[in-house]
């Protein structure tokens, strides 16, 4: 049985959005534009009007245990995240050894071309000792990750100088010091109400200011802030883009729909780093989507690590499985903000400054792997997110296809 995806919008070779029909046979796209009449009876036809076909949806994904890489890659890709960048995670694993990177690339086999490894700048993601940066890149890492802010200025300068010399991009993780400061959520009314210490938005701004000041003498390093959660920090980065074109910033869509008020009953599944902010910040972040301040929507995804036994909010580690909700929430944010379909593409693709993956164009004989995101404003539907939160969302996922196989419709 062949599959026809009709009336979907997608990016062509000239970076223009066109309405196209795709015929898929086996793992490949065998027809673009024209669907032969005689095949109709033998076709599964999916009309995806008012939807965007995204061939290279991209996710930053925290590191599971090394042995789980292949399994997780398969799982995440089956949810429509076709390209992944694995980042170190101080909760489980630090990508700080060249031999580990080489081994994981080997384990991934043919999947490796869709997966990028971003190596850890410091040993064990700690503040004191740099990793062997050039060897990590030689082993196959595509960028360097700063998971925590190196407060030792001399060491930070040394790291930046070295990265500059190697000529690779930097991804900065959350601009918070939550674990160091013993904070578990945003500082504000909710942290006071539930009696657990929070970290303020001002702290994120201070960290971004510090990092940007350190980067001033390294204008050629492409920089991506993976996940920013406060409006002042986002504005600061945006203003820096006037002087630096190789700067980009990601925001999690969950920060656009959930505020810290959702934590008033200690919902462990929403214990994120950076933390969910106030409802006013949430509103302003959503507005920032429409004025071009956000370059990438990051899933903020963490796999379930170790024993899955429930822990209290206080004892629970940061991060949760967001992958099942990600595209529904993204679609909702984009529909609600009335963004054009081409914007979907830019917000879900790898930030251009990073160039971690080759941009894909769906054409004849290309691999039939993509996700189709609906942009239908009137379809407000109730969804259960994170297992127990009922939420009304617009738009959503219409089709997920991987290697010519429908994973979800």
């Amino acid at each position: 049985m062949s599959i026809a995806i009709v009336n979907g919008k997608l990016l062509d070779e000239q970076n223009k959005i066109n309405v196209r029909n795709l015929l898929i046979q086996g793992k490949k796209i065998t027809g673009v534009g024209y669907i032969p009449d005689e095949d109709e009876g033998a076709l599964d036809v999916f009309d995806v009007s008012q939807s965007m076909i995204l061939p290279s949806t991209f996710d930053f994904f925290s590191m599971p245990e090394v042995g789980d890489i292949v399994k997780y890659t398969h799982r995440i890709q089956s949810k429509g995240m076709l390209h992944l960048a694995y980042l170190p995670n101080d909760a489980s694993c630090a990508l700080d050894r060249p031999e580990d990177i080489a081994r994981m690339i080997d384990q991934l086999g043919e999947n490796a071309e869709r997966v990028s490894f971003v190596a850890c700048a410091s040993k064990a993601n700690g503040p004191n000792e740099l990793s062997e940066l050039s060897m990590l890149i030689s082993a196959g890492a595509k960028a360097i990750y700063f998971g925590r802010i190196i407060e030792n200025e001399t060491l930070f300068k040394q790291a930046l100088t070295y990265v500059d010399m190697i000529g690779v991009p930097i991804v900065f993780g959350p601009m918070t010091k939550m674990e160091k400061n013993g904070a578990h959520l945003n500082a504000g009314a909710t942290s006071f109400e539930i009696g657990i210490r929070g970290e303020s938005e001002d702290d994120e701004l201070s960290s971004v200011q510090y990092v940007l000041s350190m980067l001033q003498s390294h204008p050629n390093i492409p920089i991506h802030f993976q996940s920013i959660s406060s409006i002042a920090a986002l504005q600061l980065i945006h203003s820096m883009k006037q002087h630096r074109s190789n700067l980009s910033v990601g925001v999690s869509p969950f920060h656009l729909v959930f505020s810290d008020e959702y934590l008033s009953h200690y919902n462990q599944r929403l214990k994120f780093n950076p933390p969910l902010r106030s409802s006013e910040t949430m509103r302003l972040l959503r507005e920032s989507l429409t004025n071009g301040m956000v370059d990438h929507l990051t899933s903020l995804h963490h796999p379930t690590l170790g024993d899955s036994q429930e822990k209290s909010f206080f004892d629970h580690s940061f991060g949760s499985e967001t992958i099942d909700s990600f595209f529904q929430v993204v679609s909702h944010c984009l529909v609600e903000s009335q963004l054009s379909l081409d914007y979907y593409h830019s917000l879900l693709s790898c930030p251009q400054s990073l160039s971690l993956v080759q941009p894909l164009v769906l054409g004849l004989n290309s691999n039939a792997s993509f996700i189709v995101l609906k942009a239908v404003a009137e379809s407000l539907q109730s969804h259960v997110l994170f297992g127990d939160i009922e939420f009304e969302l617009q738009g959503g996922v219409q089709v997920i296809m991987k290697d010519g196989e429908l994973m979800n419709t």
Binding site: F192, E193, Q309, E310, K311, S312
Partner: protein
């Protein structure tokens, strides 16, 4: 009769009806109109944080309810062997405990335990979150002295930011219709209380003549985490309830303190031991209120 509430985690989780039912039950217990008989059921007390009066008060309340208090020594418990909190609490439930009293230094732990167990969980204070039995005994004492709390003006004075007692008082007083003000150093009084309908006062001398009661909080040096007070002397100068300031209170106004008192800091000895203080009444009322909580959660009244 179905229970109005299944756990006692915080006053923010309790309806006014539930709060009133606890206060009424405590009043009946104190007057001898009700005798509580929990028929030797076991109540396990798990204190992860030091406590003197709350621990003894719960122990006494359990005994006077004809229940059997079992004190878990956390330092020699299976937690030290790596057992998880959930597993330990489930084991306690399986051993036959009919209620658990928990104190913990982290906010939300009693709430979390209540989600895991089928038996009632009573919060004996969790981090910065709440201290519901203290809040209820304060309401009880205030009601005993001032009558109906609706429209009464209560000032909570001190480190509001780090006080679980302050929050339990705020939620309880608001649900009873009282007017609530808070006073303290600006860095220890979160602005967000205003959105709950609480007034914020930074000039104590202006505020004191207008209140019916002052609940003075202990300055919690152990919870400051870098929020420094310029000095204890300056705190006392600005926000200590001194003998001189006590004179500003109206004749009928009373002074509460949840203890332990830092004498000469938030409260002068002349005030702590003076005519307006009801501090020891709070302590004795605490037993009746805790008996009422156990009784209502474990269906023990007769």
């Amino acid at each position: 009769m179905s229970k109005l509430f299944n756990h006692c985690i915080g006053l923010r989780f309790l309806t006014k009806e539930s709060v009133v039912s606890i206060l009424d039950e405590a009043k009946k217990i104190k007057s001898g109109d009700v005798i509580v008989d929990l028929k030797n059921q076991s109540v396990v007390h798990v204190f992860f944080e030091p406590s003197t009066r709350t621990r003894l008060s719960f122990e006494m309340a359990t005994q006077r309810c004809h229940a059997f208090p079992m004190m878990l020594d956390v330092e020699t418990s299976s937690l030290t062997k790596g057992e998880s909190l959930v597993d330990m609490m489930r084991n306690i439930e399986s051993l036959g405990a009919r209620a658990v009293v928990v104190r913990h230094s982290n906010g939300g732990i009693p709430y979390f335990i209540s989600q895991q167990l089928a038996i009632p969980v009573i919060n004996a204070g969790d981090g910065y979150h709440e201290h519901p039995s203290q809040g209820l005994l304060d309401l009880f004492t205030l009601q005993e002295r001032l009558g109906d709390l609706s429209g009464k003006h209560i000032l909570i004075l001190g480190d509001i930011m780090h006080s679980r007692v302050a929050k339990s008082n705020i939620w309880g007083l608001l649900s009873m219709g009282a007017k609530v003000s808070v006073a303290g150093p600006p860095n220890l009084v979160p602005d967000c209380v205003k959105k709950w309908g609480v007034d914020v006062c930074f000039n104590l001398d202006d505020c004191l003549p207008n209140v019916d009661a002052v609940n003075v909080l202990r300055i919690q040096f152990e919870r400051q985490h870098g929020i420094a007070l310029p000095s204890i002397r300056e705190y006392r100068e600005q926000f200590g309830l001194t003998q001189q300031r006590q004179e500003l209170l109206s004749d009928h106004a009373i002074v509460l303190h949840p203890g332990p008192i830092n004498r000469g800091v938030e409260l002068d000895s002349d005030v702590a031991d003076g005519k307006k203080n009801v501090i020891l009444d709070q302590v004795s009322n605490g037993v009746f209120v805790r008996m009422a909580i156990l009784s209502l959660l474990m269906d023990g009244a007769s």
